[in-house]
Amino acid sequence: MSRAEQGNGGAKAGAGVNGNAKSVAPLRVSTRTVPRTRWIQAPAIVRRHEDEGAAHRWLELEAPGSFATPLPGQFIQILLASPSAVLLPRPMSVASARRRGGRCVMGFLYAPVGPGTRLLAACEPGSSVEVLGPLGRGFPLDQPGIPVLIACWRGVAPLIFAARSLAHPSARRRGRRAEFLFGARDRAHLVGLEKARREIAAVQGRLQLATDDGSRGIRGNVIDLLERLAPRLAGTPVLHACGPHAMLKAVAGWALSRGVRAHLAMESVMACGTGVCRGCPLPRSRAKSEAFDSASTPSLWGNREYAMCCTEGPVFEARDLDWERVE
């Protein structure tokens, strides 16, 4: 169960990244609308598992070639080898994904904070788990505008992945420049900072830091960074954010009050992760609820009142949720 345990979210970039002010139309229809590939459940081998600092771990799993490559913002259900002391798989957003020898290698940044993630943290390289995915819909990185990636604490995981996909040659050719805003309580909690720095450098973007205590970057939070950045941007920003819900609420509020598009990677306790158990509802905004059309809504998505985090999300547009009721 736990996105709650892991405390991060997820992301995807369609190939058609297009942020330059002269051409506003996206090059292709967003890949978010319908998942392009179906999830499968498959065995996976732990290839790397190491400390990432601040009590976090970096995990790399190798899944078979039949496992589709996840997109930034999507997540995977990780099931420990049985018998296991925990019953349910753990949903985790993907921090990196690549093909190696036809196989799918995925990276995860997480903290062992609950019973499941503590058991996972004890898995040595060479041991086996099961993975189910890719699941959910990620960040629509192909939307026109200047991508501003906003991360708080371990919510950085899917944004490291998002930054990497923006660095894809097809995106670079279009002169896409990204901004990366990263905040945490203090410098020690800027987990995955070096990975984020590397990826954002590859996209010729800027990384700006904020800490509550001022031990790194500005003293303040990511909203303060956003306030400083916004007037200096050459075009319209599109926000992609992941972090604690309190931070996502603040980002959503900032974006909604300025008419800026924001995509927020949400968390929920989950059982199945595939839309079947109906266990991860998020309250829809009134506008979204009123416009809800059951006939055109895929069967595993939510209903008029609630969206399902696992299938419609985990990345939601700010205007789609009722932030007052998000816990």
């Binding site: 989950m270 109906r278 069967s299 609630y306």
Partner: protein, 342 residues
């Protein structure tokens, strides 16, 4: 009606019993497919005893790319109510030791969408469909069966008398033998399909409810739904669920469910479908041994979407490895367990 399933008098370990055909290990796999798993639930002839439990398999098509639903004994749909239900607020799932609590609150698309969209999809997959229906009053159920009773391709109905997570028409409301009997008597003429009553476990006597359902005209029973449970977050000082309590499922409840299923089996002549914590073929064989006619795989599908197929394969392997050619020769072999002892 006569019982389709008769208890055997022999212990399961006695694989040399004359009724068992000897099967050599080298032919085990081949013979596993020759084993007769046919299962009778009232008017329903199922190819095998493995069904998927309501609420754990969507409307049946959601897992179709990983499970051949036409190979299962049957698919029990998510409970459908007259009108769509949005379900309970967030805090619907909490993991517990070897189990999980849910408080979904019967979220479903409602009768009309179920009939116009969900059932046709499931029919096209060749599944044996058992529609789960739920209501807050006997009249709700009558209206549902009036609408769906003759629906083509729907082989039966499981009446959800036991949801622990709704304010009205939940397990407590229905845990009344005379209400059950009268309601089923009203429903009985509305369908020629199998009429199955799903019972709650949190009652003083599941036998009393089972007998009432049989008298009312049910073809079969499902024993059992989830157990009411509570899990707390001591840091936030609140329930881990949004609605305080939820329904406990998973391996934690298997012994509890098995005991109640056994009690129901012994109380009635109609078939009882066992449900509760079944993850493997061996789990299923326990329910079948105490006399369950069939089994339902529920929470296990959340963890491994292919769990129902695995359970079916393992049932075959279990019987083949013991040289048992017909499931009927196993069913009920421990039905009389505990009889004649103080």
């Amino acid at each position: 009606m006569s019982r389709a399933i008769r208890p055997r008098s022999r212990a399961p370990g006695m694989t040399r019993a004359p009724r068992f055909r000897a099967v050599g290990p080298s032919r085990e796999r081949e013979s596993a497919h020759a084993i007769d798993l046919s299962t009778r639930i009232g008017p329903l002839e199922l190819a095998n005893p493995v069904l998927v439990a309501s609420g754990t398999f969507g409307y049946g098509d959601e897992y179709a790319h990983v499970v051949d639903v036409s190979a299962l004994g049957g698919v029990i749909t998510k409970t459908v109510t007259l009108m769509p239900r949005a379900g309970n607020p967030a805090g619907r799932i909490a993991e517990t030791a070897a189990g999980m609590l849910n408080s979904i609150g019967l979220e479903n698309v409602g009768l009309e969408k179920c009939r116009s969209e969900k059932l046709p999809k499931l029919r096209s997959l060749g599944a044996t469909i058992v529609a789960s229906v739920g209501g807050e009053t006997p009249d709700d159920l009558v209206r549902l069966l009036e609408a769906l009773g003759d629906e083509p391709g729907v082989a039966g109905f499981e009446i959800n008398f036991s949801c622990p997570n709704v304010a009205e028409g939940g397990a407590r409301y229905w845990a009344d033998p005379s209400r059950l009997e009268h309601t089923l008597a009203h429903l009985r003429p509305l369908t020629r399909g199998a009429l199955i009553a799903k019972l709650p476990p949190d009652v003083t006597s599941i036998a009393d409810l089972a007998i009432a359902c049989e008298r009312g005209g049910a073809d079969a029973l499902t024993a059992v739904n989830t157990f009411v449970g509570l899990a707390l977050d001591l840091d936030a000082l609140k329930s881990k669920l949004g609605r305080a309590t939820g329904g406990l499922s998973g391996p934690a409840i298997k012994p509890l469910a098995l005991a109640r299923c056994h009690e129901a089996v012994r109380a009635v002549g109609i078939p009882v479908i066992g449900s509760g914590g079944i993850e493997s073929g061996r789990d299923a064989m326990e329910f079948l041994a105490i006399g369950a006619a069939a089994v339902q795989v529920g929470t296990a599908s959340f963890i491994r979407p292919g769990a129902s197929s695995t359970v079916l394969d393992e049932i075959r392997e279990f019987l083949a490895s013991r040289g048992i050619a017909r499931l009927d020769n196993w069913r009920g072999c421990l039905r009389d367990l505990g009889q004649g002892r103080a």
